[in-house]
Amino acid sequence: MISQIFSLAFLAQTIRITVPYSLASLGGVYSERGGVVNIALEGIILNGAFCATVGTYYTGSPLFGVVCGIAGGLLTALIHAVVTIHVKADQIISGIAINLFAVGITKFVLEILFHSSSNSDRIPGLPHIHLGFIENQPDVARLLGNPLVLATILIVVASQFIIFKTRFGLRLRAVGENPEAADTVGISVVLYRYLGVLISGALAGLAGAWLAFDQHSFTDGMSAGRGYIALAAMIVGKWNPMGAAAACLLFGFAESLQIQLQGAGMPTQFIQMIPYVATIIVLAGFIGKAVAPGADGVPYEKEK
């Protein structure tokens, strides 16, 4: 039983689930480190998945689809950025509205383009790199050879470096922690907050593209709460890229365990709760204190 569960296929399943969580969760880190709460991740993922599907469907090129997915995420994040940074409207409500908008617009266009209210036509997946090992398990080999898996690992490591070791990261954290002080020393709060939100849009859009290629189609509402799990992982990971990715791995592990047990006919709802309950426990400070960036969620009003 145990060996059946923790097989190579199980590992592959865990990775498959963890990749989009990690990308979106990193997106959350960039946005919130800059001081903008991004509940819109859910909608960004959905729009990213949709744009990736449409881009691939009409050009036949998955690579172009990836670009479209990122572009769709960027555009969606741009709405959030304009509304929250320029207009200084409430960040949480903006996020909720964008999530609602994404559900509506994707289904609306889906019906126009594919004449279906539930799913698109089939699209090809991403080409994979031949690894030369585990060829006897073609599914696993295909997954591990997926360029986005490698890209995700690189993005996680690079983000840890970017946020904590580069000038960009320092400035981003400064506008999220204490925008007045950052402004005083000449850092443009607006610019860095825009960058934070847009990077989060690109990453969450990429997460959406992953979902579309993984499933070879777009289905309505396919983000299915992943944006919220990504937010949860960001908190459990204490707003650190590596921490967030580790939390995503944990959540991905729990979810693939749940899928296995479901196959065995066992009730899995309690495993399903793990990410959410873990987040509540961490937030309550039972396992170390999770502290959000100082000015997270607060619009910046420049002194006149």
């Binding site: 409500i93 289904k107 709802q269 309690f270």
Partner: protein, 365 residues
């Protein structure tokens, strides 16, 4: 500013301008943008909109459907509005209404044959306790540990969904369905069409009266009681409240619990007045829509009723126009309304401030 003292206020400065003008403009603008989407589909916006209005407001069946969709939105909107006034952001109405509605169904299953005068209040109370408990948790966590209610309510929405899913699929299940066995016949609220033949076939029922009562309660509680006064002070300025001897922690817990209890009443519409059982996924997004309703209603209980009517109309209207344009048009409209309201509140205030500055300057000249 001098004019204000003289009682000769410019209309732009009148609070009613902001309360009514912004929502109306937001709705009008969203319909205008929606028209672009309709044209893209190759339909005539005037035709689509006139169908939307005539099929919802023009027939008693349509009005019945509209009111049925409005009822849960009033509960959810009131829940969010009350918490808002206490400075709290309740994104958890969705989870609270799930737990509340499930509690109503659960108690209803086990109390067969109890007379309606006891059964109906009992089931209402069950919904309030279920929802209230789900509001109490994030309230308590916020008060005691400072954990942000936004994140905790989001998380608890998912926990609630998983929890009711467990009970509905594994414990109280009618085989081959995702709903519970029916509640006691004595716990059912009559439908309007049982009394007025005009509503024939539409599911609107007496729970809408409970919703209106809840709105009156929220108004009275917030505007006319000492507790409501405390709640508002905490919402406006928690430090001043604490300094003035008002317990911020207590008010956070109480507000979230009452907010949750009101959201928990959603079950009166679906469980007691419509299907007579709890069904998994019966409310997709009502709690989130409550945020939009509260926002559009300016967090005022009566504003919430009006906003809920509008959103209820849109929700049923989407189904009506589905043959012409995809019904998701209404989700797009709703999202645009929300974005316009939150943006225009800020933009309007800025215009107002600039306007007043200029006027002050000209007066000084």
């Amino acid at each position: 500013m001098a004019d204000v003292k003289n009682g000769n206020r410019h209309w732009l400065e009148h609070p009613a301008t902001q309360t009514f003008l912004i929502p109306i403009l937001a709705v009008a603008l969203s319909f205008a943008i929606g028209a672009i989407f309709i044209v893209i589909v190759g339909q005539n916006p005037f035709e689509v909109y006139s169908t939307l209005f005539s099929q919802t407001l023009g027939t008693s069946y349509g009005i019945g459907q509209l009111l049925f969709k409005t009822t849960p939105l009033i509960f959810a909107g009131l829940s969010v509005a009350l918490c808002f006034r206490a400075g709290l952001f309740n994104i958890g109405a969705e989870g609270q209404l799930q737990i509340g509605a499930f509690a109503t169904a659960l108690v209803g299953m086990y109390t067969m044959g109890v007379p309606p005068v006891i059964e109906i209040p009992l089931l209402i109370l069950a919904g309030m306790i279920g929802g209230g408990l789900w509001g109490f948790i994030p309230g308590y966590l916020k008060a005691k540990t400072g954990a942000h209610e936004v994140i905790n309510t989001i998380m608890l929405n998912f926990v609630a969904a998983a929890l009711v899913s467990y009970f509905v699929t594994n414990v109280y299940n009618v085989p081959a369905t995702v709903h519970t066995p029916p509640i006691s016949p004595t716990g059912r609220l009559p439908r309007f069409d049982a009394l007025f033949s005009g509503f024939e076939g539409s599911p609107v029922n007496f729970s809408i009266l409970i919703a209106l009562l809840a709105a009156v309660f929220v108004w009275y509680y917030i505007d006319r009681t000492r507790y409501g006064y405390e709640l508002r002070v905490v919402g406006l300025n928690p430090k001043a409240a604490e300094y003035g001897g008002i317990s911020v922690a207590k008010n956070i817990i109480v507000s979230m619990t009452i907010g949750g209890a009101i959201a928990g009443l959603v079950g009166t519409n679906f469980v007691m007045g419509y299907k007579y059982y709890f069904e998994e996924g019966f409310s997709i997004g009502t709690g989130f829509m409550g945020i939009a309703v509260a926002l559009l209603g300016n967090n005022n209980p009566f504003g919430v009723i009006l906003a809920a009517l509008l959103f209820g109309m849109l929700e049923y209207g989407g189904l009506v126009i589905n043959t012409m344009v995809p019904k998701e048009l209404v989700s797009i409209l709703q999202a645009i309304v929300i974005i316009f309201v939150i943006s225009s509140n800020k933009i309007f205030r800025r215009i107002l401030v600039n306007f007043l500055k200029k006027r002050t300057l000209s007066v000084n000249d």
